[in-house]
Amino acid sequence: MTANYLPPHEPIDPLDPGDVVLTDPTAAPDVATAVESGMLPAGKPRSSFRRGMEVFLENKLAVAGICIFAFMLLFCFVGPLVYHTNQSLVNFADQTLPPSASHPLGTDSSGFDVLGRLMIAGQISLEVGLAAAALATVVGVLWGAVAGYFGGVLDAAMMRVVDAMLSIPTLFLLLVIVSMVTPSELVLIVVIALTSWLTTARLVRGEALSLRVRDYVQAMKVMGGGSARAVLRHIAPNAIGTIMVNATFQVADAIAFIVALSYLGLGIRPPQQDWGGMLSDGITYVSDGYWWLIIPAGFCIVLVITAVLFVGEGLRDAVEVRLQRR
C-alpha cells in the first residue's frame, strides 16, 4: 500500500442528509487513538482490523447499542418460548385490560397480552429490517461496484437511474409500490430493499472509482483476471468498511420504514402484526387513555433504532481509524 495515500473522503450525498448527521468530523483524536492510527509510534504493530475493533469497543455507546440489540433479538425470538401467551385466539372478555399481575403490560383490543404481542410483532419488524437492509446492501454494492469499476457510459447510465430514483423521497416511492402489491413479509422485504439501495450504490461507486486504479487491481488484470473477479474479489471486499457502516444505518432505516408502512395500514396485514401495526391499533383507543397500547410498542421502536444508530456511529469511527492507516 502506498504510504502517502490519503483516505478517500466519503462522497457527500446531497440528497441524503440522514447519514451525515451522525458524524462528528471534528472529534479530535486523543493520544490513544493517535497511537493506534499510526500517527504516533505504537508499541507493537497490530492489524488494522484489531485496531478498529479496539476503537469500536472503547465506544461505550456502541457497545451498549450491540447489547440492547442483542437483548431485543433474544426478547423477540426466545421470549415467546419462556413467556407463553395466547396470540392466536381473539378473547373479547379480556379486551383492553390495564396492566396487572397476569398481564404485565395489559391487553389490546382483541384481548391479546401486550407483552407477548410485543415479542411476536417484534419478530416481524426485526426480520424485515435486517433482511431488507441485507438485500439493499447486496444490490447497492453490486450496482455501485459495477458502475464504478467499468466507468464511462455504463457508469453514467447506471448512476442516472440512481439519481432519478433518489429525487423521489423514499417514503413516497415506497407508498406507490406498496399500493400496487399485496404486502406479505417477503414482498415488504423486497420492496423496502428496492427503494433503499441507492445511497449504498453511490457510496460504493465512489470507493470503486478510487479502488480500480490501485496497483493490486491492475496487477490482477495483467495476470489475466476477469472483470467479475475484480468486482467481487477486490473492489467489494476493499470497500467493506464503508459498506458495513452503511448497512448498519440501512437496518435503522428499514425498521423505521416497515413500522411506518404498517402504521399507515399499508404494511403487514392482520392477523400478522408488527410494532407499527400495534401503534395504529393503539391510536384508535388513544382518546380512552389506554396508554399501554402505545407506550410499550413505541418504546421498543425507539430503543431498537437508537441502538442500531449507536452501533453505526461506533463502526464509522472504527472504520475511519482503519482508513487512516490504509
Binding site: 430514483m165 413516497f172 406507490v176 406498496v178 399507515l264 395500514g265 425507539v302 437508537t306 444508530l309
Partner: protein, 304 residues
C-alpha cells in the same frame, strides 16, 4: 427529471389488473362494451409509450390529468392541498431553525459537558423516533391527559381556516419541528465545531475580541452557511415527515392526499404528486448549490 417521469409512469402502468374494472367496480365485467368505451376514453387501448407521450404533453401544458376517485382534476386537487402543506412545512422548519441553531451553538461551545450530552441524547432519541409515534405521544399527552390542544388539525377548504383555528395547528407543527430540530441541531453542532478551530477565530481572540463577539460575528456567520444549504437538501426528509404528520393529525394537505390516493389506488393523483415532490427535491438541491455559492465567496473563486 424526465427519467423520473418515465420511471414513475411505467411503475404505475405495471399495476396488475384492469384499470377500468378497478374504477367502475367488479360489476363492469358483465359489460365488456363499457370497458372498451372506458379504455378508449382514457387512452388505455394505446401502447404504453403513446400513453406516456399523451400524459407528458398534457403535463407540459399544466394538465396533470383527472383523479379517478375524487371527480376532480389533479391540478385543482393539488392547488387546494399544496398551499396547506407549504404552510405546515414552512412554519415547522422556521420554528425548528429558531430552536436548533442556538442548541447547536451551545452544544459546540460546551462540548462534552453535561449540556452537550443532554441535547445529544435528546436529538438522538428524536432522530430515532418515527414522526407518527411522536405525533401519537403528543396527542396522548397534550390532547388527552392535559387537554389544551385539539387532537385533530384544522379542517376545511380554505387556508383562512388554518389561521382562524391556529390552536389546532400547534401539535402538527410541533411534531414536524421536533424531528427537524434533531436533524438541524446535529448539523449546527458539527458546523460550529468545524469553525471553532479555524485560524480566523484564533486571530480574533488574539486581537482581544470578546467571546461573545467572536461567537456572533465570526463563528455564527460562517456556521450558518452549511445550514442554509442543508435546508434545500433536507426537503425530502421534511416532506416525508409531513406526509406522516398529516396522516396522524388528519391535516388536509398534500401528504394526506398522497396517502389516501395510495390506499385507494388513485394513480393519476399519485403520479401528479410524485412529479411535484420530485421537482421540489431537484429545485431544493439546486437552491442549495446556489445559496452555497452566494454565501461563500470562496466557492466562486474556485469555480471556472
Amino acid at each position: 427529471m424526465l427519467i423520473v417521469t418515465v420511471f414513475t409512469f411505467l411503475l404505475l402502468r405495471l399495476i396488475p389488473g384492469n384499470v377500468a374494472v378497478a374504477i367502475m367496480g367488479p360489476g363492469a365485467y358483465r359489460d365488456p362494451a363499457a370497458i372498451a368505451q372506458f379504455n378508449r376514453q382514457y387512452g388505455f387501448d394505446k401502447p404504453w409509450y403513446a400513453q406516456y407521450w399523451l400524459w407528458l404533453s398534457n403535463l407540459l401544458r399544466g394538465n396533470l390529468g383527472y383523479s379517478w376517485k375524487q371527480n376532480q382534476s389533479v391540478a385543482s386537487l393539488l392547488g387546494e392541498r399544496l398551499p396547506k402543506t407549504v404552510i405546515l412545512v414552512g412554519i415547522a422548519t422556521l420554528v425548528a431553525l429558531i430552536i436548533a441553531v442556538p442548541i447547536g451553538i451551545i452544544q459546540a461551545v460546551r462540548r462534552n459537558k453535561v449540556v452537550d450530552h443532554f441535547f445529544n441524547g435528546f436529538s438522538t432519541v428524536f432522530y430515532a423516533m418515527p414522526s407518527f409515534l411522536l405525533g401519537i405521544l403528543l396527542i396522548l399527552v397534550f390532547a388527552i391527559k392535559i387537554p389544551i390542544f385539539p387532537a385533530e388539525a384544522p379542517q376545511g377548504e380554505t387556508i383562512g381556516v388554518i389561521f382562524s383555528n391556529f390552536n389546532a395547528m400547534i401539535l402538527p407543527i410541533a411534531t414536524l419541528a421536533l424531528i427537524s430540530i434533531a436533524l438541524f441541531s446535529r448539523y449546527m453542532r458539527s458546523s460550529v465545531l468545524d469553525n471553532i478551530t479555524e485560524d480566523y477565530v484564533r486571530t480574533a481572540k488574539a486581537k482581544g475580541a470578546s467571546e461573545r463577539r467572536i461567537l456572533v460575528r465570526h463563528i455564527l456567520r460562517n456556521s450558518l452557511i452549511p445550514i442554509a444549504t442543508l435546508l434545500g437538501l433536507s426537503l425530502p426528509f421534511i416532506l416525508s415527515g409531513a406526509l406522516i404528520t398529516e396522516s396522524v393529525f388528519n391535516y388536509p394537505g398534500m401528504g394526506l392526499l398522497f396517502f389516501q390516493s395510495a390506499s385507494s389506488q388513485d394513480y393519476p393523483v399519485l403520479l401528479g404528486i410524485t412529479v411535484v415532490v420530485a421537482a421540489a427535491t431537484v429545485v431544493g438541491s439546486l437552491l442549495a448549490d446556489i445559496t452555497y455559492a452566494a454565501l461563500d465567496p470562496r466557492v466562486r473563486y474556485v469555480s471556472r
